[in-house]
């Protein structure tokens, strides 16, 4: 029991590794925020391409989506860092590579979320709006978008938890996030407590987010039924 406490829950070791852990947490947070900004935007692009009037474009979007679903995130991170960015003549930087890879991979899932939300809006709503004399643009603006936003909210939050869960994989291209920080600290203090700390911090954040997602879902359900 003492050994367990000494090796896994050692406050002294945790305190000495605070700078590394904090730096890692900040790294994770930055990457998470960048992904939360760009992935939903990219999702709109993917959806627009998937619904384009030209069949070849639709087909290309479908294959792109399936490719993104097929690549393991870790492999795609490596490909982005060593292949995609150099081929595009972009500056090769772990943060940029990670942000690009996360945004492309998760953007595809956001496109799927938008698509099912669009389908979930009852066709009768369009007809009703038209018979009230609203133009197509006005219909979308006043009738569809408010409903779509409510429908999208719950899957949006659960996708955010998935993004958060994927963040530690960015270590593979040398991005300094919480896992990299914890591993460096573990070597530094020769104690496993930083790793345990990182895991607990992660679990707590994710459970909190899941709880929030549940609340959001309840709210959206209430509003949609009202």
């Amino acid at each position: 029991m003492d050994a367990l406490a000494h090796h896994f829950f050692n406050w002294d070791a945790l305190w000495r590794s605070r700078t590394m852990l904090l730096q890692g947490a900040v790294g994770s947070l930055q990457l998470g925020l960048a992904t939360l900004m760009f992935a939903p935007l990219f999702g709109i692009v993917v959806l627009a391409l998937a619904r384009s009037p030209w069949a070849p474009v639709r087909k290309a979007a479908e294959w792109f989506t399936d490719l993104m679903r097929a690549f393991p995130l870790l492999v795609f991170l490596v490909l982005t860092f060593y292949l995609l960015l150099p081929l595009l003549n972009l500056r090769v930087d772990p943060f940029i590579a990670a942000a690009v890879a996360f945004s492309l991979k998760h953007g595809v899932y956001f496109a799927e979320i938008y698509r099912s939300a669009w389908l979930a809006v009852d066709r009768g709503q369009f007809q009703a709006a038209h018979s009230l004399g609203l133009s197509t643009f006005r219909t979308i603006q006043l009738v569809v978008v408010p409903q779509v936003l409510l429908i999208v909210l719950p899957p949006f939050t659960s996708q955010a938890t998935l993004i958060l869960r994927d963040l530690p994989l960015a270590f593979i291209i040398g991005y300094f996030e919480i896992l990299t920080g914890a591993r460096a600290a573990q070597v530094f203090v020769r104690n496993a407590s930083p790793l345990v700390g990182a895991i607990i911090a992660y679990g707590a954040t994710l459970i909190l987010l899941q709880w929030a997602a549940g609340r959001v879902e309840a709210y959206s359900k209430r509003r949609l039924e009202a």
Binding site: A3, L4, H7, F8, E62, D66, L67, R69, A70, F71, P72, L73, L74, V75, V78, L79, Y82, L83, P86, L87, T161, R165, D166, L167, P168, L169, F171, I172, L179, R183, Q186, N191, A192, L195, V196, A198, I199, Y202, G203, L206, I207, Q210
Partner: protein, 222 residues
């Protein structure tokens, strides 16, 4: 064209084929073993959540929710790097296998639970009213319908399974991507990475396409 050749040179990949094939074997073994160890417990957890007493269902739901929140890569690193501090040393392969199996039990149980939940109460009542026993109802009435509903989710959980094996490279396990990274480190050329990526696509892309087709036919059926 020269530029592309610089990034993917088949002759170069051929030169290092032994590394890459060994990596492929590790990835396939890891996937197969995880599948074998996880499928039955996953099913049992789903049954426990659906038919078990209330306390068991709540307990299992809690455990599943907590486990879903922990990134697999963290548990792999924890088992590999932290457990040795208390005298429990596992090889890189075993560490990855243990974490992947735990994760996959959770995924499978969610898939099966979703399938079981899709079978309505009326089905049970009708079957019992016909005088069928509990076991027969489960085998002949519930499971066939549940399997049909759960099929697309099951295929995507297999996709996740194979994808997650790539986490092995976090603990220096030479799976397919790990081996490719090693070769890339030795040689400085990105070609092996491309070869590894193609390898993953060959395994996973058919599953993804299959999921898409099943989802479509399900959407039509409903």
């Amino acid at each position: 064209m020269d530029r592309l050749h610089q990034y993917f040179d088949p002759a170069f990949v051929w030169e290092y084929r032994d590394y890459l094939i060994d990596g492929l074997v590790v990835t396939l073994m890891l996937s197969a073993l995880t599948f074998a160890f996880a499928i039955l417990p996953g099913f049992i957890v789903a049954l426990g959540r659906r038919f078990g007493p209330k306390w068991l269902a709540t307990l299992l739901a809690g455990i599943v929710n907590v486990l879903r929140s922990v990134p697999t890569v963290l548990t792999v690193v924890f088992i590999y790097l932290a457990l040795p501090f208390i005298g429990l040393t596992l090889s890189a392969f075993a560490s990855v296998l243990v974490s992947l199996t735990i994760m996959q039990i959770v995924y499978f149980s969610e898939v099966f639970r979703g399938g079981l939940a899709a079978v309505g109460k009326g089905q049970y009542e009708a079957a019992y009213a016909c005088g069928l026993s509990r076991m027969i109802v489960l085998r002949k009435v519930v499971l066939p319908q549940a399997a049909l509903v759960a099929a697309p989710a099951f295929a995507s959980s297999l996709v996740l399974l194979v994808q997650n094996t790539s986490i092995g490279s976090a603990v220096a396990l030479n799976d397919l991507i790990g081996a490719a990274l090693t070769v890339q480190n030795i040689s400085g050329a990105p070609s092996p990475l491309v070869a590894a990526a193609i390898g993953y696509l060959i395994i996973i892309l058919p599953l993804v396409r299959l999921t898409r087709r099943w989802e479509r036919s399900m959407a039509k059926a409903i």
